[in-house]
């Protein structure tokens, strides 16, 4: 069974985000970029499936600028087998990403696509679900635990009230939540080996997908700032203050 893992190049989660003064977006010049953390969890899960003999080949796909090939290399160094880079500059919305991934799935025929539940830049939380709908496949989003069965996947999901288990028929879409696994670090020998693994370069037009944005971003602003308040000296004083303002 082939497994496809889409990976997105995003601002590193440790970087303090700065909104551009002209309101046109977030300043990405000279900031550290990394693989979306939820996608790292997806890559790790795919590798574990391969180690358990449940997956035969792992294909890492990234849609983005030339530098997104570095993100694919990271996945290859962790243990993915080959990569596909769909080159495009500028923002690509989740629906366009899903359309490209659908075309890749049609060509590669994977048994499973594992994606991060959301990217930490646009926080959309849509791509996996959209891909599932376009393919007519079932989905198990926000996965906490994944077990492969016979022609199905048994997935424990993180939901608002606790945990829910669903069975989805293969082929299926899985999106990862935080506690599915702890991604490994790539070892130096594996980083060297990854340099020899193949990455196919494609264009969105190769898949017949128009990636021009359909949502118009009118402006991007700083959120309203909260001011630090007062320090109290004792727990009793804290209770008194909260009572005074009617908060308790």
């Amino acid at each position: 069974m082939k497994v496809i893992v889409p990976v997105k190049r995003v601002i590193d989660f440790n970087v303090k985000v700065r909104v551009k003064a002209d309101g046109s977006g977030v300043d990405l010049a000279n900031v550290k970029m990394s693989m979306n953390p939820f996608d790292e969890i997806a890559v790790e899960e795919a590798i574990r499936l391969k180690e358990k003999g449940k997956a035969s080949e792992i294909i890492a796909v990234s849609i983005g600028p030339q530098q997104a090939s570095e993100t694919i290399r990271t996945a290859l160094a962790m243990g993915a087998d080959r990569g596909i880079l769909v080159k495009t500059d500028g923002e690509v919305e989740p629906l366009a990403v899903a359309k490209i991934l659908k075309a890749i799935c049609d060509a590669e025929q994977p048994g499973l696509v594992i994606l991060g539940k959301q990217a930490i830049d646009d926080d959309s939380n849509q791509t996996g679900q959209m891909l599932a709908a376009l393919l007519g496949w079932p989905q198990a989003t926000f996965a906490h635990k994944l077990d492969m069965g016979d022609g199905k996947a048994d997935v424990e999901r993180e939901i608002d009230g606790g945990l829910q288990t669903v069975d989805v028929k293969l082929p299926a879409i899985v999106t990862t939540d935080l506690r599915l696994n702890e991604p490994r670090y790539a070892s130096l020998p594996n980083i060297m080996k990854a340099k020899k693994k193949p990455i196919d370069e494609k264009q969105p037009s190769d898949y017949g997908v128009d990636v021009s944005p359909r949502l118009k971003v009118l402006k991007v602003t700083e959120p309203p700032k909260r001011q630090a308040g007062v320090k109290v000296k004792t727990a009793a004083e804290l209770v008194d203050k909260l009572k005074e303002i009617g908060a308790i």
């Binding site: 985000v17 989740p94 939380n125 679900q129 079932p138 606790g162 829910q164 949502l215 009118l218 959120p223």
Partner: protein
């Protein structure tokens, strides 16, 4: 035309998040219809019919919808989508699960987690874990929108809409509900509680959360946690407040032993009043707290409890 709100419920009761989504929907396209998909969910439909601004409630009552699995929900919503120019759902784990499927099938972009309706086609939504707010304009045609419910007031229960049964759509038959483990608690739910007391890594163990629970019981508060506390296994995942957990905005949020990582702040910084207890006076949480107490939580929490007892709580 009209807008359609997909109801959030547990088959027995309608969730507050539905009433809040109705408020957002009324600003996008009125009148508002509500779709209740569930199993033996008559009481939910009745409650939805009372929400002010709602003109009609559609009920699809079938075993197929008992757990709102994404695949049958997609088919059902698409079966009625033609009648509406906007489809909205609360950004709960259910809404996040089924709604993008609907958008993809309608070939329209989804606008996720809106916090403000600027005009019927323009919305504000947080990006980068709430570190920036984007104002986005949707193209003409159908709108598919998920709503961050903490940003909207609940519609009042003063209306009386008609309730209409609709036919279930065909079962795609590709997913099956197996089971669930829901946290049982006598305390209010995190997303609707007026007061929340959350613990972080500083709690040191799950056992120590009992300290917070005792305090919560006095204040009729819900208990939450930071990602660090959940990752450490102190408490289950559904306690997590933050950008990737639950987003809350109670009247009072008490952060205990929480340093204040960006992703946690994104989930609670819209609370009306924030109090923080942490022994590290440099903790970022103090930069946004209205009241800060630099103290050892293992001393401070019992002291707070004693003070509350003294005051008759």
């Amino acid at each position: 035309m009209a807008s359609l709100v997909i109801a959030e419920h547990d088959n027995a009761s309608l969730k507050d998040s539905t009433a809040k989504t109705v408020t957002a929907a009324a600003q996008v396209s009125a009148p508002v219809h509500v779709l209740v998909a569930g199993s033996n969910c008559g009481a939910v439909a009745e409650a939805a019919a009372k929400l002010s601004g709602v003109e009609k409630v559609l009920v699809a009552d079938a075993a197929l919808y008992a757990k709102m699995l994404a695949e049958p929900m997609e088919a059902l919503i698409l079966s009625v989508a033609g009648n509406y120019d906007a489809i909205l759902a609360p950004a709960t784990t259910n809404g996040k699960n089924y709604l993008p499927r609907v958008a993809a099938k309608l070939d329209v972009p989804q606008v996720s987690e809106i916090i403000k309706v600027v005009s019927p086609d323009t919305f504000e939504r947080p990006i980068y874990a709430g570190n920036a707010i984007a104002t986005v304009q949707a193209p003409s045609g159908k709108k598919v929108i998920s709503v961050r419910t903490t940003a909207f007031k609940a519609a009042e229960a003063s209306g009386s809409a008609a309730v209409e049964k609709i036919q279930p759509a065909a079962d795609p038959g590709i997913s099956t509900f197996v089971g669930e483990e829901l946290s049982k608690s006598e305390r209010p739910e995190l997303t609707s509680a007026k007061i929340i007391i959350s613990g972080g890594r500083g709690m040191q163990s799950g056992e120590n959360f009992k300290l917070l629970e005792a305090l919560a019981d006095k204040l009729h508060a819900a208990v939450g946690a930071s990602r660090a506390a959940v990752d450490a296994g102190f408490v289950p995942n559904d306690y997590q407040v933050g950008q990737t957990g639950k987003v809350v905005a109670p009247d009072l949020y008490i952060a205990v032993g929480i340093s204040g990582a960006i992703q946690h702040l994104a989930g609670m910084k819209d609370s009306k009043v924030i109090a923080a207890i942490n022994k590290d006076e440099e903790a970022p949480i103090f930069q946004i707290a209205d009241y800060g107490l630099v103290a050892d939580l293992f001393k401070a929490i019992p002291e707070m409890e004693a003070e509350l007892t003294k005051l008759g709580y």
